[in-house]
């Protein structure tokens, strides 16, 4: 590709948006969930790197809304709406939520991946945003990137290679 594309990085417990021909990516998703919201008409893509399922357990002074599924999704939606996105056009995709280590008799933290996925789905339903594709679970890490021009989500992993959805 000759044309230079701007790449927006989303860190852990972070969210951001990119428009037109830009790319938005987050690396090394394990039990975390990478969730994207996309408005095809505006070619506007937003991504959140969610770490924990619920802000109920938060003990931090200043809440980082991007960290929890129940707060990150509404925050991402609000950000897209500020930029003119219409909730009726927005579609979501997500990847991650794996269980990196398997233990016998594992406690709740060990199941954090599946719980993150469940919590994201519940919140999407509540926000009435359709989930059109997902690649979740398993026991491996993922790096994801979305091209705002096409809305295609690219998922890379060490064990299963690259796939698009």
């Amino acid at each position: 590709m000759i044309e230079e594309q701007s790449i927006v990085k989303v860190g852990m417990a972070d969210l951001n948006v990119v428009q037109q021909s830009g790319i938005i990516r987050t690396v090394g998703l394990g039990s975390c969930v990478g969730l994207t919201m996309y408005d095809p008409e505006l070619k506007l893509a937003g991504m959140a790197h969610v770490m924990l399922p619920s802000s109920d357990i938060a003990r931090e002074g200043q809440l980082n809304v991007a960290k929890y599924a129940d707060t990150a999704l509404p925050a991402l939606l609000a950000k897209l709406r500020e930029l003119g996105a219409s909730p009726s056009r927005i579609v979501a995709k997500m990847a991650g939520g794996s269980q990196m280590f398997a233990f016998a008799g594992a406690g709740d933290t060990m199941r954090i991946g599946p719980r993150n996925v469940e919590s994201c789905k519940a919140k999407l339903a509540e926000l009435r945003i359709p989930l059109i594709a997902e690649d979740t679970g398993g026991n491996y890490g993922r790096t994801i990137e979305m091209d705002a021009g096409t809305g295609i989500l690219l998922i890379r992993s060490v064990q299963t290679g690259v796939k698009e959805m």
Partner: protein
């Protein structure tokens, strides 16, 4: 997390010593296994943003071999023993005589051997730490993963997740004489464990 920002240098020194004693014993164990001297760097104790923790092993996308143990007992936490895939192959070759294959994957025997090596090293790390602090600490059965560093390490940060965006990490690098086997120990005590560690070592907690 504010409480950790105000840790005086003295407390960092105490934690550095915790890393020193634990990793020192693990290095000795590794040295006996390899029958070669193993050097160890001075442990680093840092309060790091989540993002930067995987930078310590080459970035979030860097593929690493990690043996993970959950520490249970009075001062729970997470312990990682991290190697590059090449170092892990080299370690296996020397210890068990497995021929180093080139495809980069590990078969079942190799995985099991790596887990056992991790178990021995982590066990010596923890037992010396338990002796030093007089706290009971025991490891769970080790789990092995070869994957992106970000995906692996984020797992050890979950206990810190609901407190802030940083974690306190005790990081010790060790390497064998000819640098073929280089590894890192990351001890990430749970946030609540620090008070217990300090208390049992006689460090007053209230005068920060």
């Amino acid at each position: 997390m504010e409480v950790f920002k105000h840790f005086k240098e003295f407390k960092m020194d105490v934690l550095r010593e915790v890393g020193n004693i634990g990793a020192g014993n693990a290095a000795t164990a590794l040295s006996r296994l390899l029958n070669k001297p193993v050097d160890m760097a001075v442990p680093k104790v840092q309060l790091l943003p989540f993002e930067e923790i995987s930078e310590k092993v080459g970035g979030a996308e860097q593929v690493v071999v990690a043996i993970f143990l959950r520490v249970e007992g009075e001062a729970p936490g997470n312990l990682f023993f991290i190697l590059s895939p090449e170092a892990a192959k080299s370690l296996l070759n020397r210890l068990v005589g497995f021929p180093p294959e080139t495809d980069g994957m590990f078969n079942e025997m190799e995985q099991s051997a790596l887990c056992e090596i991790g178990n021995i090293l982590a066990g010596s790390y923890l037992s010396s730490l338990a002796d030093f602090t007089k706290l009971s600490m025991y490891p769970t059965v080790p789990a092995l993963a070869m994957d992106m560093a970000g995906a692996i390490l984020s797992f050890g940060l979950l206990q810190f997740g609901h407190m802030g965006d940083d974690a306190l990490l005790i990081d010790t690098t060790f390497l064998e004489g000819d640098h073929e086997v280089e590894g890192q120990f990351f001890l990430i005590p749970d946030p609540d464990s620090f008070a217990k560690i300090f208390k049992s070592l006689g460090v007053p907690m209230d005068h920060d």
